[in-house]
Each structure stands twice: as structure tokens, then as C-alpha cells.
Symmetry: C2
Subunit: 308 residues, 2 copies
């Protein structure tokens, strides 16, 4: 069995952009710190929710440098290596390993379609071999609704067999519970994180490692409670609490909506900025979202119980 | 009407890779020269066929530098700027403009899905504004079968209206003649290049500018003949000649198949190498492909007439 550096709730951290469009490292550091204070077990930087693919590899590496300089513990970080070119993915993975990051979250190459399992295997194997470090821990990032290209069940098995000490887990953002359940059943000891907290309790009961979820940016303490109490009598009630927040958010474009909520509750409008091709929420959408959250009694960081 | 730097057949040049996986600039330069000698009116470097998205922006820019140093005329070059991050697309477009390239071929950002026309407009407008050069000529690259994200008819009109001197054309690799025809009918003076020579004659007769086609890597002289004789009595016969080559190639994965044909006819096995996630043809596929081409009497550079 490989060592498993992550367990519990990991947050794919939103990336704040300054007025000139550049990543805002000051706000990013403060927000990462706040998420860890709120109970995040790890930070999955530079994923889909982070708009990482709207940033150059150099921009992502510079942000990671700032975070490490600010004293955020590298072991808690799982930076994404999303890239279509092996050269870019190698640079990002090497940089993360160089900083001592707990692991990396690896998208398959997502430009060419269709691609075969052999082709995807060739890409990831090439990256692992070129990084060439026993410190590298790879978490496969399966998100076919966005990347289109994904990791099949058989391909995951091939990675586990070929790189048992390196490919140690997977984030399943397929949105399909059957896929998550099949991964858990077929590969015990492999760290499977559903990409939505809606599946958190079901996953934990089946041997899952936790979850890596966008909504963690606004509800990490609620989600952490499910992780802490999943074997207790309150587990289902706590799960219901976090599910309703997720379902409320899902009625809106997720990344701009999360940024709007952070801007609202942190009282910092800079947070609403997204990079094209994303668009910020309209004023009408923003007002509706805040109203919807008020209706379910949501307050940032921890969901309040509605007064009975 | 904007100035139109390109007309005729443009070749999205295959990128050769050396045994260590690096782009092979020597072979690349020689091949570009050969294509121009064979009658290519321009070279659309770093597109889909070029495996450009399997190369980092730095690798692409270095290859362009080598090409310019070797004396390939910049005015004949239309490098792709394929990237999901504005920062990368700006760097690539600026570099091409700095070299005096005739234009650039611009993919929309292709990671996030779904994206709105407003979001895609925001991305491209941002790149154009940041490059900030009156020398920039943008050709939109519409290839939804691969990129998934594409340019709608209305969005193309919005670019033409907003940037009449900058956004001057489009490569239509939708594979849908109805889309090409609609572009030609709605936007006269806008340079529309179908992404397959199968549609070349039909496009020229409707006001098209030519074509930008993968198969140009092996059949540019045949395709150039259609461009030169499209108003003559031989036009349909010449079109039939190039269509059969394309249809033969389309039975195989296009990029590895083209590389196999180049390796075969240039007698240079190095050319078969592709970068993951692509895979080279198997020996069986390779043999079948060469046989299929022999059956239609194909010889590299110019299609021989079959003996009657």
C-alpha cells in the first residue's frame, strides 16, 4: 500500500484576480489560510474551480511560490498540473515536488479527441518518468463533463499496477456515483475523492478518502463535520445540511457563483472577477443567489440552522 | 475591406519530433521549405495537425524562431495561438506579430464547457487588445469536433463588426458544408478557408479564399492545382483527384497517418513519431495505408494519374 498524504475535505481553491486581470497573490494567501483555519484538510490548488487552465503555467507556479513563501505548509497542497503538453505538465509537477507538495492533481491531455487509453497512459507515464522523483504522488483528475477526455476504470487499474507508489488516488468529478462506487470497489487502498460533497457520506461508508469539492470554498466547516462524524448518529443529518448548500449553488454557474458568495460574505467585491471565457454573475443572478442562500439559512464558513 | 494576406492552399504543417521527444527544428525547416516549393501559398504552423497543443508555448515559439532564422518568409506564416489562458495566447500572438507573420490562427479557449459567446468574445477581444498591434491579423479557428468550443455564426459577425481590420478570416474545420456556406453568404470579403479540401471547389465557387487542410502535408501540389484552375474546364476532375486522396486518408487517424506517409515517401522513419496522447500507426495499419494509397495511384507531392 502506498503512503496516503490526503484524507478528508480538500478545497479546490478559487483564484482571485486583481483589477488588471493578474492573479492576486495577497488575497490568495489570505484565503488559503482562512480555508485551513476553517478545517480544510488540504488545498487542491489550480483545478477547474481555480480557473487554472485560464492561467499560464508560469502564473500558476508564481502563485505557488508566493503561498510557500507565506508559510502555507506544502504537505497540505495538491496543485493541479492541467496541461495538454507533456512539457508543461512536467514543469508543473516538478515545481510542486520541488516545493514538497503532498501530491499533484493530474488532468489527462484534453485537447485531442478522440484519444485512446493507450495514448492517455503514454502521456501520464511520460510525465511521471520525466519528473523521475520518488516523492511524486499523483492523483488522477477525472472530470469528463469539462475535460471531455477522462480516465476509464481499466486505465486507472493500469496506473495503479504500473506506478503503485506514485499514482495513489483520484478525484472523480464525473458526477456519476456508479463510477465512484466502482472505483472504490475495484481498487481498495486507492484514495478516491468524489468531486462533490453530495456523495461524501456514501463514499466514506464505502471506503472513500473524503472529497475534493468546489463548494468547499464556502462551506468547508460543514463538509469537515461530515468527515469527522460519518460513523456517528448525526451523519445523515449533517450530510443533508451540506447537500442543500451544494444543490442551491448548482443552480448557478459554479465558479462565478462561488466568487460572488465569497465577495458577499468576505465583503470584498474584488473577488467577483473571473477570467474569460468565464463571465461574472449578472446583478440579477447575484441577488437571486444571495436570496436563495439566505432562504436555506446559509452563512459563510458554517451553515447556520434555520430558526425553527 | 481589410487587407487579406492569405489566399489559396495553406498547410497546417506536421511537427517532426526527434528520438528524445523534442521538436526537430532541422527536419521542420526542410519540410516547410519543401511545402512552399511544392506550391503551398502559406503555412498554418502550430494547428491541430501540428500537434501544437502537445507542445508548450515556449517550444512553439522556439520553432518559429528557427524557421525565421532559416529564411522562411514570415509573411507566408499563420502560426496558431491555441491556448486556454489569455496570457499564453497573448504571448504567442505577440511573438508572431513581432516576426512579421502574415496572420495568426486563433482557437477559442477550449477547456471550460459550456461557455457562452460573450465569454469567448471576451477571451479573443482581450487577446487582441493586449497584443495591441495594427499588424495583427486574426483568423478564427473553428474546429468543434476537436476543441468542442467553437465560433457561432453570430459571434463571427460580432468580431468582424468590432475588429474589421484585425479579424479577417476563419478556418472552418466543422466538417459541415452548411456552416461554411453560411459564413460565405453572410460575410462577403471575410476570408473563409474550409478545413478540408473536399469542400475546396465548392468554397471557391461561392467566394471562399482557399483551404487550410491537413492533407496538404502530402498533396499540396494537387490541391494548389484546383486553386489555380477552379474556373477552368478541368476543375471538377481536379477536385475529384484530391477528394479521393483525402477520403483514403480519413480512414486512418489523420495525424499519425500523415506522418507515416511522409516517413514513407521521404524515406525518413523519424517522421512517424508523435507525442502522446497520439499514438503512431501500428505496422498493420501502416501497411494497409500505403497499400490504399498505391491503389489510388498516389505519389507524394503530386498525385499520379493511374495508368488508364
Amino acid at each position: 500500500m502506498p503512503t496516503q498524504p490526503f484524507r478528508g475535505v480538500l478545497v479546490p481553491v478559487l483564484t482571485p484576480f486583481a483589477a488588471n486581470g493578474d492573479p492576486d497573490s495577497g488575497r490568495f494567501i489570505a484565503f488559503c489560510r482562512w480555508l485551513l483555519d476553517q478545517g480544510a484538510n488540504g488545498l487542491a490548488l489550480f483545478g477547474t474551480t481555480s480557473e487554472a487552465n485560464s492561467m499560464s503555467p508560469a502564473e500558476r507556479m508564481a502563485l505557488l511560490d508566493r503561498l510557500i513563501e507565506a508559510g502555507i505548509p506544502a504537505g497540505k497542497l495538491m496543485p493541479g498540473t492541467g496541461a495538454c503538453a507533456i512539457t508543461d505538465a512536467v514543469a508543473l509537477a516538478r515545481h510542486a515536488v520541488g516545493h514538497g507538495c503532498g501530491g499533484v492533481l493530474m488532468l489527462p491531455p484534453f485537447y485531442y479527441k478522440p484519444v485512446s487509453d493507450d495514448g492517455i497512459f503514454g502521456f501520464v507515464a511520460n510525465v511521471i518518468d520525466k519528473v523521475g522523483s520518488s516523492d511524486l504522488r499523483v492523483y488522477l483528475y477525472h472530470i469528463p463533463p469539462v475535460a471531455v477526455v477522462g480516465y476509464s476504470l481499466d486505465l486507472v487499474g493500469r496506473f495503479i499496477k504500473t506506478y503503485p507508489e506514485t499514482v495513489v488516488g483520484l478525484k472523480d468529478s464525473s458526477g456519476e456515483w456508479n463510477n465512484t462506487a466502482a472505483l472504490l470497489d475495484r481498487y481498495p487502498g486507492f484514495a478516491v475523492f468524489p468531486g462533490s460533497e453530495v456523495f461524501l457520506l456514501d463514499a466514506l461508508r464505502r471506503g472513500g478518502a473524503g472529497c475534493i469539492t468546489a463548494t468547499g470554498n464556502i462551506n468547508v466547516s460543514g463538509i469537515a463535520k461530515v468527515c469527522a462524524n460519518w460513523q456517528g448518529p448525526q451523519a445523515d443529518a449533517l450530510q443533508a445540511e451540506i447537500t442543500i448548500v451544494r444543490k442551491t449553488m448548482q443552480a448557478y454557474p459554479m465558479v462565478p457563483a462561488l466568487k460572488r458568495v465569497v465577495a458577499h460574505f468576505h465583503n470584498d467585491p474584488v473577488w467577483t472577477a473571473v477570467r474569460p471565457p468565464m463571465l461574472p454573475l449578472s446583478e440579477t443572478q447575484s441577488a437571486a443567489l444571495i436570496t436563495d442562500l439566505a432562504k436555506i439559512g446559509f452563512a459563510l464558513g458554517e451553515r447556520r440552522q434555520k430558526a425553527a
